[in-house]
């Protein structure tokens, strides 16, 4: 079923966090709450672009022996449950490069992934990622930031990527973001080549989401959901905590998608 909420929300979750089953339940709740896209992060030992909330989630998942193969199973399960919701995979270069880019992209394709977001494979150091995605009918979604040089920004706009993941400020995930005129000017500039702008970094409230929504194709939110899980997950009262998490995630997604 296609989502009908007024704000296109791209909701982030970590594959297998806090455990495999609860993770799938979170994906369901995000979709129920009105998410249009899911961004599934594959855990990495050294998530150097993430703040404490997502770092801790990464570490927890890996401590349970989570593998890339299992993460693809997780994504495939989501895709099967929500075939109308495009799923994007976000992770770090090491997980894509080590098994070979082509191989990772083929696995992603097989799991039903729509695109990849790999912040440390920038467009001029992408190890063939963009090509491999194209060859598989998927998209590579590069990250752009307001501080990038005009020269690089012009280059990336020129390359006509279908989507650009637009971090609205410097820093890492999970810190607070203020949306001001400079932010809006940057978003306008980024979309000049026709790319759909996925905008986020620090979006946690319905108010922020509403302010941003008219200017972007989709609003991204991540740490806001992860924090809910950190707060409510309780392995000693598993069923009860799963129920609470599902409710809270759905409510947060609804708040952020204006539904």
């Amino acid at each position: 079923m296609k989502p009908t909420s007024p704000i296109r929300l791209m909701a982030h979750l970590v594959a297998g966090f806090p455990d495999y089953e609860t993770g799938l339940l979170i994906a369901d709740s995000l979709v129920k709450g009105g998410a249009h896209f899911l961004e599934v992060q594959f855990a990495f030992t050294d998530p150097s672009a993430d703040g404490p909330a997502i770092q801790t989630a990464n570490a927890l998942v890996l401590s349970k022996g989570f593998t890339t193969a299992r993460a693809f199973e997780f994504v495939a399960a989501i895709h099967e449950r929500h075939p109308d919701i495009p799923v994007f995979v976000m992770t770090y270069a090491s997980l894509v490069y080590t098994p070979q880019v082509k191989h990772f992209v083929a696995e992603a394709k097989a799991a039903g992934v729509a695109g990849l977001i790999i912040p440390d494979l920038p467009f001029d150091h992408d190890e063939g990622l963009t090509e491999a995605c194209k060859a598989n009918g998927m998209v590579n979604i590069p990250v752009v930031v307001p501080s990038m040089s005009e020269e690089r920004l012009a280059q990336i706009i020129e390359m006509k990527f279908p989507y650009l993941y637009t971090a609205l400020r410097a820093g890492i995930t999970g810190q607070k973001t203020v949306i001001d005129q400079n932010t809006l000017d940057f978003i306008r500039r980024v979309s000049e080549g026709g790319a759909k702008v996925l905008g986020g970094f620090g979006i946690g409230s319905g108010e922020q989401s509403k302010t941003l929504a008219p200017h972007v194709y989709s609003v991204i939110a991540g740490s806001a959901f992860i924090n809910i899980v950190h707060e409510l997950f309780d392995e000693t009262h598993l069923e009860e905590s799963r129920k609470k998490i599902a409710q809270a995630i759905e409510a947060k997604a609804r708040e952020l998608s204006g539904g």
Partner: protein, 417 residues
Amino acid sequence: MSENGYFGVFGGKYVPEVLRRPIDELEKGFYEAIQDPSFLEELKTLQDNFIGRPTPLLFAKNATADLGGAKIYIKMEGLANTGAHKINNAIGQALLVKRMGKTRVIAETGAGQHGVATAAACAHLGIPCEIYMGEVDVRRQQPNVATMEMYGAKVIPVRSGSKTLKDAINEAMRDWASHPDTTHYLIGSALGPAPFPDMVRIFQSVIGREVKEQAAAKNLDIAALVACVGGGSNAIGFFEPYLEATAPRLIGAEAGGIGTGYGENAARMTGNAAREGIVHGYKSRFLLTEDGQMAETRSISAGLDYPGINPQFADLGVSGRVEFMAIPDKEVLEALQYFARKEGVFFALESAHAAAAALRIVKEIPKDKAIIINMSGRGDKDIFITSPVFRNRQWKEFLKSELTRLESGADIYHAKN
């Protein structure tokens, strides 16, 4: 020198977009600075007066006589101010920070030697600095933490991941990504995205240039240079003048840890555990799992306890110009004790890997040739690691009585024992 940031297939700038601009600006600023005679002159003055260069090239006559092989020489980098070669790079980059108008320095440290060097360099040049250090390393290198704080630096223990050097690097990268305009990330190892590997090598190459002059003055016929390789900063600077030549042999000693199994060492260039990967902004050889997760590492020396290696060394290892040996912890301690007793030279645990590698090959080399060990650091900082090994009972008693005294508030003259 790299080509566009690459050494063969290794190197590059695999960084999130937010770090690209500060890296590009740094690259431009660095190459301008090293072409500017006034910058080089200022650096030279600091090298002479603040670091105490040149460091001596010592003939280890007792060890040479004892072993009966090549003449052993020791490049005494450990005599540099702050006790290790790290200051060569720290003062160079700190001077660059001033020139580029940044107002804050952050750094990572493993053994703490780079942290100490950065703290001292920043104190000397009047720049505020914060040092990220894994919690495990904070514990095993406590004397260096005290020293950094004495220089006025703020030491931030890193509790994420394996709580060692790699996690300190992650945390420093996060900080830099949050403050790219005001802050310079003063990387201490010859790794990370371009231009760091070139920059660190160039600042450290003062070691190799001095060795070349000193060896010529002593008429040495050098058969081999031996250095320890964690990230690779001392080794690449020491080898620098000889990289393009085919002689002498260049030998890098890696951390063999407690065994050859998974998580038991930090050997990137020997053994089967390492593979080509992209982590921390550069492509090199790393200890990675099949999925590309960073593997655990193990070494008695915090400074070598890192899963990656300088990308130029990855290339030089593949081409065969540099040979690598993995030295187990036990052999490291033996070499440390050997040179302390024979020569009155106390190696840092990191540098003792090089000493041990030299001991392995010295007898194969004829007497008229020389082998030079880079003592990249001295061992004072390791007292909390070496004391429990060499004088366990006395050390325990000392710590217990010292704790009792501190808790009772007694003056040191009135403590028991």
